[in-house]
């Protein structure tokens, strides 16, 4: 027996199993954090609750998720910048001083420039309750400049589906994927980004039920080995493939006539819009054989289809158009509003929906209605007790563009925009132009290094709160550990800062339960998701959950959320990606995710079991391109675009199509991407840019 275990026995320390929701992707896996004296020692699998989405299972990130919170590099005290912006030199200060400095700056900037010079970011990594408070706080100080890094995530598919169906959320629970007749994986890599969903639902369909799988992706992804067809469009040209599929489904009379007749409007306009987008045209644009496009279009039209579509569709300037075209395909084939189909947004984070559903956006109220809607504003003003500004705020990319101009101060919670926003060098220069920056996070991220004040936040397992998964499942997670040093939960920091600003009367909360009860009252979709109901039901409820015990597993069975209850088919046109390869930059550059890392690695690189297995970035290049550019496997290479360069190792592989190179996005790829945005959705070009590659002498 080791001395450590002897000591533990003498102290009679009991292990406590605290039920938590996993802090990474949006599958919503549950497990137990095994806590000893406020310190998490390991995780234990939850095989006690058969109704939870993961049925006990976890991916490597889930298993390792206790590691980062124990990192010695956690922020423990508030910091004040003493060096240059970006240099990372700080001195420790007290909470009182930090609050005093921030409150004074907010007042100063409001006085000099008006509240429209203030901007706030919510986060896909903090709880539902905390996002709600970020929203309330930003409106209480008088600004609608409110967004979150989800702007770069689901903001093609979400607005497109809202336009067509009235709501972007997933239509069905995951269990319906296992009941589908065709699994279509388009610009999505769930075997790596959501392994539990892949194993527990997609494999059930594909392996156990023998259902066909089709993959559309320029790369061969992990799950690709199960696919019968693999279409490999050039990045950013998927829109051409989707338009040609519409052309085939309508031209060959394969659409669901009864469904189109009874449940949609706009079919004739759509038919007219896509009549010239033949598969042969799409082949020229996308490099996908016309015959393969026909095959997949016919399959979709004939089978109940699960559409698993993600960032390969979302993260393009033309992603909105692509998402509209896919929504049209879903609607005219009747693949919605019934069992055995699946489609919807698939947030990258456990709490992407927490930000989206509390209205973290420059044009929204927490109820989801628009800030410009006077009656809707008055309703929230009555509940909150203070006036709400009526002007449209700026989206995240516009905030960055306006730093030092319209935007003078920014308050960032749990976001690392120096790496997640497009064109990292530009973002860093812009951050230097701010009068004042507050970053609230658990680590000193690259972005925090540009802050004037850094506030140490409690991590996911160090607080109680609510998470919302990709299948609209609302679940509670509980405090399993003490935050290190003086770090505090995000909700408490906002409550205390509000008090310093003289807004304390609107933020009288002593526990996240009180915030959730207020949400139950303010946001009707969540009326039934009470702290008491969620405590008794670890499997949670599917929103809209309007009364305790009532949830909505399948959306749109009878009508859509549009003004007339019908799906609004939308005519879509081809839209060139903003940048395409040319003589100078001859290759397409795209990016992808690794199973062992998450977002900008701030947490996964502090997880030793993950970091050692997935240690660094690399670039995938096809053998033909490798010969053309004189690159061998393992060579050090320089990847350049018009924005910047990254030096990394080459992986020569058939798993990427000719003409395209690809890097994991977690590290530096955004030094290469483009900050141009879509006029409506403000989505930037994060996945298809023109690049060149050259060997670097070692």
């Amino acid at each position: 027996m080791t001395s450590q275990s002897v000591k533990l026995e003498v102290m009679n320390v009991a292990e406590k199993l605290v039920p938590v929701v996993c802090p990474w992707c949006s599958v919503g896996c549950r497990f137990y954090a095994v806590s000893v004296n406020g310190y998490i020692r390991r995780v234990e699998f939850d095989y006690d609750h058969p109704k939870i989405p993961n049925m006990g299972k976890l991916c490597p990130k889930g298993v390792a998720s206790y590691q980062f919170i124990n990192s010695p590099d956690r922020l423990k005290r508030p910091l004040k910048r003493v060096g240059d912006r970006g240099e990372g030199k700080f001195e420790e200060i007290s909470w009182e001083e930090a609050y005093r400095i921030i409150a004074k700056k907010i007042e100063e900037i409001k006085e000099t420039y008006g509240p429209e010079a203030l901007a706030f970011l919510g986060s896909e990594k903090i709880t539902f309750e905390e996002n709600y408070l970020v929203h309330k706080f930003s409106k209480a100080v008088g600004t609608n400049n409110l967004d979150f890094p989800g702007r770069y995530c689901q903001y093609s598919n979400s607005p497109a589906r809202t336009k067509v169906f009235g709501s972007g959320a997933a239509t069905n629970p995951f269990e319906d994927i296992a009941k589908a007749e065709l699994v279509l994986i388009w610009g999505h890599n769930p075997a790596e980004t959501a392994p539990v969903m892949f194993g527990q639902y997609i494999e059930k369909a594909v392996i156990d039920n023998g259902v066909e799988m089709v993959v559309i992706d320029p790369r061969s992804t992990r799950g690709h080995k199960y696919a019968s067809l693999h279409l490999k469009p050039y990045p950013g040209t998927d829109l051409a493939v989707a338009l040609a599929m519409l052309n085939v489904i309508i031209g060959e009379d394969l659409y669901d006539k009864e469904f189109v007749q009874e449940r949609t409007v706009g079919f004739e306009e759509l038919k007219e819009a896509v009549k010239d987008y033949s598969p042969e045209w799409a082949e020229k644009v996308s490099g996908v054989p016309a015959e393969d496009i026909r095959k997949v279009a016919r399959l979709i039209a004939g089978k109940k289809t699960a559409f698993l579509v993600n960032e390969g569709m979302n993260q393009h300037v033309n992603g909105f158009n692509l998402a509209l075209a896919i929504a049209d395909i879903i609607a005219i084939t009747g693949n919605i509003g019934k069992e055995g189909v699946w489609s919807g947004v698939f947030p990258g984070a456990q709490c992407g929906f927490c930000a989206a559903m509390t209205g973290i956006a420059p044009n929204k109220l927490p109820t989801g209605k628009l800030v410009t809607d006077e009656a809707a504003r008055a309703e929230v003003e009555r509940l909150w007790g203070f006036p709400i500004p009526d002007w449209l705020g700026l989206d995240l990319t516009s905030m960055i563009r306006e730093m030092g101009n319209k935007i003078r101060m920014m308050y960032i919670i749990g976001g690392n925009i120096t790496k997640s926003a497009p064109n990292s060098a530009w973002v860093r220069e812009q951050l230097k132009k701010l009068d004042f920056l507050v970053v609230q996070d658990i680590f000193l991220t690259e972005t925090a290094k540009y802050a004037d004040i850094v506030l140490p936040a409690a991590a996911w397992f160090e607080k109680t709160g609510t998470a919302i998964s990709a299948e609209r499942r609302v679940q509670r997670t509980y405090k399993a550990a003490e935050a290190p040093g003086e770090a505090k939960p995000d909700w408490l920091i906002l409550v205390e800062l509000a008090k310093e600003l003289g807004l304390g009367e609107y933020f009288k909360y002593e526990h996240p339960d009180e915030v959730l009860r207020e949400i139950n009252n303010v946001i009707p979709l969540f009326k039934g998701a009470t702290p008491e109901y969620l405590a008794e039901h670890p499997e949670g409820c599917f929103f809209p959950c309007t009364e305790p015990g009532e949830g909505t597993k399948i959306l749109f069975k009878n009508g859509f959320k549009t003004s007339d209850g019908r799906a609004h088919l939308t005519a879509v046109e081809w839209m060139e990606p903003p940048e395409t390869p040319d003589g100078e930059y001859p290759l397409w550059l795209t990016n992808f995710r690794l199973v062992g890392h998450w977002h900008t690695v701030t947490m996964t690189e502090e997880s030793p079991s993950l970091q050692k297995r997935w240690p660094e970035e690399y670039v995938m290049i096809n053998p033909a391109d490798a010969r053309r550019f004189n690159v061998r496997d393992g060579d050090l290479v320089k990847i350049e675009t018009r924005r910047g360069e990254v030096i990394t190792r080459a992986a020569v592989t058939d798993h990427i199509r000719e003409g395209v190179i690809a890097m994991p996005w977690h590290w530096n790829v955004n030094f290469l991407t483009l900050e141009e945005t879509h006029p409506v959705t403000k989505m930037a070009e994060l996945k298809a840019v023109a690049a060149r590659i050259s060997r670097v002498e070692e």
Partner: protein, 165 residues
């Protein structure tokens, strides 16, 4: 009734949840996922052989068969002679250089004592790893394969179905 971990490699997506779960439980991963260029992945751990050569050659009695049939290991008796590694046809036992003894999978003896599954099996999101009475696992597999054959035959795809097995 020998309880074993069965590897249904066709379900594996190479996520390495098993490795991380094993590492969390034992400090070092005793299971490893081997990846091949064609996206084929195989998680591999001790086979807990019915006629285990390592057991037969262990001179100190450190290796023993426990009540569930696992080839288990008493670290206090091990002398780090590597005989088990020499005898193992798979190269499973490894040297723990710090403690100067061997290290190998014991099917999570501590977890089994608490009524839990081995950590790698608990985690495996695709059920590529299955734990239980091995013949029960294999009868289930055989049943599934026969059912697939039947439905393929009904669709007139018998020959194709046979090929993918």
């Amino acid at each position: 009734m020998a309880k074993k971990i069965f590897l249904d490699y066709n379900r594996c997506i190479g996520c390495k949840a098993c490795e991380v779960a094993c590492e969390m439980t034992h400090g070092e991963a005793r299971i490893k996922v081997f990846e091949f260029p064609d996206l084929f992945t195989v998680p591999f751990n001790c086979r807990h052989c019915e006629k285990a050569p390592c057991l037969n050659v262990c001179p100190s009695g450190a290796l023993f068969r426990d009540e569930d049939g696992a080839v288990a290991f008493d670290p206090l008796k091990c002398i780090g002679c590597l005989m088990c590694a020499v005898a193992c046809p798979f190269g499973i036992p490894k040297l723990d250089e710090e403690n100067k003894i061997m290290d190998k999978c014991d099917l999570c003896a501590d977890r089994r004592a608490d009524g839990l599954l081995p950590a790698c099996v608990s985690a495996c999101p695709t059920e590529a790893l299955k734990y239980g009475d091995i013949n029960e696992v294999l009868w289930n597999r055989e049943g599934k394969i026969v059912a697939n054959l039947k439905s393929s035959a009904e669709r007139g795809e018998g020959e194709e179905a046979y090929l993918i097995l």
